[in-house]
Amino acid sequence: MNTIPLTHILFVSTALFFIGMYGLFTRRNIITMLMSIELILNSVNINFIAFNKYLHPANLDGVFFTIFIIAIAAAEAAVAIAIIINLYRNHKSIDIEDAAEMKY
């Protein structure tokens, strides 16, 4: 364990973050965009745990931040999926470009 430097874990989480961000930019399926957001949240969780472990190993702040992020992500996914189901009922599609009533 002590042979893995902190920067390697930060590189992993950075790469995951930008894979999620690319998905958020380029997909038009609302559910896949939501999955990209989950990917971004998980990369942030890895960052919190790594900093907690490497910089302040006696504290638990990063672990609790991650637990609350997971809880909020669960609530967010439930509400977002309710919105997506309602949108699908009105538009009969999950293309984000079809939901344009409030665009102009």
């Binding site: 364990m1 559910i31 890895i46 490497y54 609790f64 992500a73 669960a74």
Partner: protein, 167 residues
């Protein structure tokens, strides 16, 4: 090369490859399954970082609950590769360029951060992520955010039911 280093690189490669496959697969069901593989790899990272409780919570909540919700919705809407909307290649190129340049900037920031170079984890005190320590801290220091998150869950539940019901 010790076993933890080999495990770290294996889990890293697994996480990155399956994250790329989440975005590349046309079928949304395959995307969800690849995302579950990503979550398993991230849980492995948590175990390597000595946060065992968090690894289990990550598996149960993300891979167990949220991803099942996604799968149910995708199957309810009967989505497949044919209904997948496609963006044009110019937008894909623009997304790759903007995301890639931001990635480049952040990687160079990490590389030049002198505070973080040479930091390694302490191996000896390995019981900080176990459930008894976490529970003691959660119900003493973090009891206010804990109770607030219960209110958040109640409001999210009510909101999901209100938004999702047929009117």
């Amino acid at each position: 090369m010790s076993i933890t280093v080999v495990l770290f690189w294996f889990l890293t490669a697994l996480a990155l490859l399956s994250a790329i496959m989440v975005l590349l697969s046309k079928n949304p069901v395959h995307s969800v399954l690849w995302l579950i593989v990503v979550f398993f790899a991230i849980s492995g990272h948590y175990i390597l970082l000595n946060a065992q409780f968090l690894a289990i919570v990550n598996l149960i909540v993300y891979a167990g609950a949220i991803m099942v919700l996604f799968l149910f919705v995708i199957m309810l809407m009967n989505l497949n590769a044919e209904t997948e909307p496609q963006k044009n290649t110019w937008l894909k190129l623009a997304g790759a360029i903007s995301g890639g340049s931001l990635l480049l900037i952040l990687v160079s920031v990490i590389r030049s951060a002198t505070d973080m170079t040479g930091r390694t984890a302490q191996v000896g005190e390995g019981n900080i992520g176990l459930i008894s320590n976490l529970g003691k801290a959660l119900f003493s220091e973090y009891v206010v955010p804990f109770e607030i998150s219960s209110v958040l869950f109640l409001s999210a539940m009510v909101g999901a039911v209100v938004i999702g019901k047929k009117d």
